[in-house]
Symmetry: C2
Subunit: 526 residues, 2 copies
């Protein structure tokens, strides 16, 4: 029997607060530190590992976190989710994004269909369509192949798919699976669409319109912008556009599109990269086989997340350490720092995934919570960040927990030896050096050159950023965010915070305003 | 006589702490809110305005901040800086980035030269070089024009110039001043250089190598990577490369470069966009006249920052409100939210500018401070962010102060009318709606749909993002950061926090390691 309780009513949480705090500088010094690095490591899917040696925890803290996981029934709640219970209580919906990449528990029948069959069916439709585009069986009106795919979508229909595309673009190029360049239009700022269209060969471009509801104003506006451009170029828009939407949306049966691929209300935008939202553009860009490998990595990580032993479940452990940092140690932010240029927009995706899911102040029953919930997430790739905001991370007055990601090998296989090391070795040496510098610090007579240390970090280590490891990485963070939402007893799957602005924007556009709204509108000439 | 004192010893700061806190929801309601929007606005350079109506301040708070500005001698300290005093006490250097765009005070003679003459001379050298490249007087060995410029640099040699390039790229295209595409290589991850080179026509590419010291390992490594690629393509690297460096650097007199343009130790990397670091790539991409307009906007904002009246000095006011939010109200972060796709990487530049300058725990004399200093800075363009992390900003458990930027007109002049409004109108309506939603919130019987409000924001409003307004915007934030550093009594112009990692990375590469460093290195196969 699952029960949903606020964190501050959980007995194990009270015990966790009492566990002696770890002195990270001491813990990571000398042979003790070396042993921590050896022991505090959990295998992840796709051959990766989650290493938490430099987190401000020890066996006592981990034991207390394990009790917290047990008392809050995290594994049972995850099982309830993938077995089709209404976990999104705010919108009264199932939460089935894991099912786009595998079948973890029972068959889930909803809306009269087996949902796994439904998702697999749509994937197959997308794969067939992409294969036909690549083979020149689906072409423009002149019978010429499409060379570019342009996704039109915003939020979850943009950030995740864009981050995944950038993560695999160069890998695909050197592995001969690169089929079409992908571009993205998201912002209602007309300069966004205008700039993308300015550099796009419209006659050979295929547009993927992504909106679950079919009513997202930014996306419909940009669709219209694109259609005007196609018409002005003497092209018929319906020959250049496919839709990814829900079956009940106005886009679903329109003759305006070459094809429509379906998702449903059980997949939130920020969890939709493994659905058709990511599937169409990624299958067109890299081929359906690459997308299948991506799903395989995600499915493997979903399965790892079912393990009850916290020391063998990296998503669960990562989630609980994050809760400990947030609620017990009082840290407000988390920086995500991938040492891989391919992951340049992965932090922006995680920023949405985490902050939109867990930036909540009421629990699942609509009652205010008396503790802090989701942190602010930000980050940029290393080593770039080292020459930028790391100054504050090292010597600022607040401690920011860090989440590193690193790979042993690069994606493109080209490298150069300078001062006896390759660039890849320099990259890896830097991430290792940063972890130790943040944890241990350094004393100096000159206080300006003194590093306090005690700044906790973890690292996910993989062999290479490729479709499978990327899928596993994506799923790891989705599951981390889900587990944290369970611990905080909040609903991670709705997003009421995006609604109020929409209502007010409509008032402004209708000139139905007064007070501050009216004067601001005048200032901006609306 | 200037004196440098810690914030917690300032009498006016004690008084500021005692001023009654503003209830932002009440202040921004009804006609009172409308009056605040009308009155709480300060003209900025380039026809822009800084509006702080939705900040958690009132006349009493502003008066107290004015006293704080006076007692901490902020305007006098700024004058000392531009008159050539050694403001960067850590590295014992002058701080002269403003001089790259104007002469605010006395002539400054250093290293035996008039520094303004020196910076102007280098700008002229760059302008002449760029004009000759555009005219086809400087070409590749085959006598063909260069079509692409690729900047090789990291940190301040990358983020600022890249953000400025992206901000003006589309403006230049529609204003017929677009001369050459620019690309950027920064990360030591070999995939960064490999990916850029993969899509670059090497025979017609001009590389700009930027390193003040001439010793930045990432940049020298990437230079070598590029040279290998040029040689493999049968090209002579020295025909394809210019350097931006200091006169004392090993790069300064090398025959490896077509030309060398100079900066000096008095311009920090993150403040160098208006020096040759930004000047070379921007002049090559858009022409020297566009770069001159950019400098003009920055110079105008620098001059506005000399005004002693806090209500007429937007950088000073913005800085002090930021200190109030950080030290009195206790907010840890600031989100930068430009409603302009052209500013897509402007937040990343500000993240470096602010966090690297003010992420410090010791004062100018090396003594620990007893108060918090620089905040964490993050942000993405709106409306994109509205569909992502704004959820936490609206309904999360922590309050994050917001800095909006918006323009009345778009850059490319193309738009579409949907539901009776243009995209530009929708964009502006959204930023206005967000400001009011964050400040006023909304009550609802369903707590899940309730918005507390009380979340402070300011907005900078301009006519259009163009070279002049961009320069003014850049300078506004540089001066804001400088004033805040003065208030906190820290040195905003050094960056010891980037050093320790470098030392440890060298140890790793030399296999001179033990403890945690050794085991991490093994895990990453270094």
């Amino acid at each position: 029997m699952i029960t949903w309780n606020n964190l501050d009513t959980i007995k194990a949480y009270g015990e966790l607060e009492k566990v002696a705090k770890v002195n990270l500088q001491e813990a990571m010094a000398g042979e003790n530190g070396a042993n921590r690095v050896r022991n505090y490591s959990v295998p992840m899917a796709a051959g990766m590992a989650y290493n938490y040696a430099a987190k401000q925890v020890d066996d006592n803290v981990i034991d207390a976190l394990a009790k917290l996981a047990e008392e809050t029934q995290l594994i049972e709640k995850y099982a309830a989710l993938y077995n089709g219970e209404v976990i999104n209580t705010g919108e009264k919906r199932l939460v089935l994004h894991q099912m786009t990449r595998g079948q973890l528990g029972n068959d889930v029948i909803a809306d009269g269909v087996n949902k796994r069959d439904f998702y697999v069916g749509e994937q197959k439709k997308i794969a067939d369509f992409a294969n036909k585009v690549h083979a020149g069986e689906i072409t423009n009106a002149a019978g010429e192949k499409f060379t570019t795919v342009v996704q039109i979508g915003i939020g979850g229909s943009d950030l995740g798919p864009r981050a995944m595309y950038l993560a695999l673009e160069n890998w695909a190029k050197v592995n001969n699976t690169f089929k079409m360049e992908a571009k993205f239009i998201s912002n209602v700022d007309p300069d966004d669409a205008a700039a993308v269209l300015h550099t796009t060969d419209l006659a050979h471009a295929l547009f993927v319109l992504v909106s679950k509801s079919g009513t997202t104003l930014e996306t419909l506006t940009n669709e219209s912008f694109v259609k005007d451009a196609l018409k002005n170029a003497g092209l018929n828009p319906s020959n250049h556009m496919v839709a990814v939407t829900s079956e009940t949306s106005p886009l679903a049966k329109s003759s305006d599109y070459l094809a429509a691929f379906f998702m449903d209300d059980y997949i939130g935008g920020r969890f939709s990269s493994t659905s058709g939202v990511g599937g169409a553009v990624l299958s067109l860009a890299f081929g359906p086989e690459v997308f299948a490998q991506f799903l395989e990595g995600a499915a493997e990580a979903d399965k790892t997340a079912t393990i009850a032993d916290i020391k063998k479940n990296p998503a669960l452990l990562d989630a609980l350490i994050g809760v400990y940092e947030r609620n017990v140690l009082g840290y407000q932010n988390t920086a995500v720092l991938p040492y891989s240029q391919g992951l340049s927009r992965f932090p922006a995706h995680l920023q949405q995934l985490d902050m939109e899911s867990n930036g909540k102040s009421v629990n699942r029953f609509g009652d205010p919570v008396n503790y802090v919930t989701g942190p602010v997430i930000f980050g940029e790739p290393g080593t770039n960040g080292q020459h930028s905001f790391y100054q504050l991370l090292h010597q600022g007055t607040d401690i920011v927990p860090l989440q590193f990601v690193g790979f042993k090998n690069n994606q493109m296989g080209k490298d150069v030896v300078i001062e006896d090391s390759t660039s890849q070795q320099k990259l890896c040496a830097n991430v290792v050096a940063q972890i130790v510098a943040f944890a241990c610090g350094k004393d100096d007579e000159n206080a300006n050159k003194k590093f306090e240390g005690g700044r906790p970090s973890s690292i996910i280590i993989g062999e290479q950023l490729n479709p499978k490891s990327l899928g596993a990485l994506l799923s790891h963070f989705e599951n981390k965010v889900m587990f944290q939402g369970f611990v905080w007893n909040i609903n991670s799957f709705d997003q009421e915070g995006v609604q109020l602005g929409k209502v007010l924007a409509k008032k402004v556009l209708a000139h139905d305003t007064e007070g501050a709204l009216k004067v601001y509108s005048e200032l901006l000439n609306i």
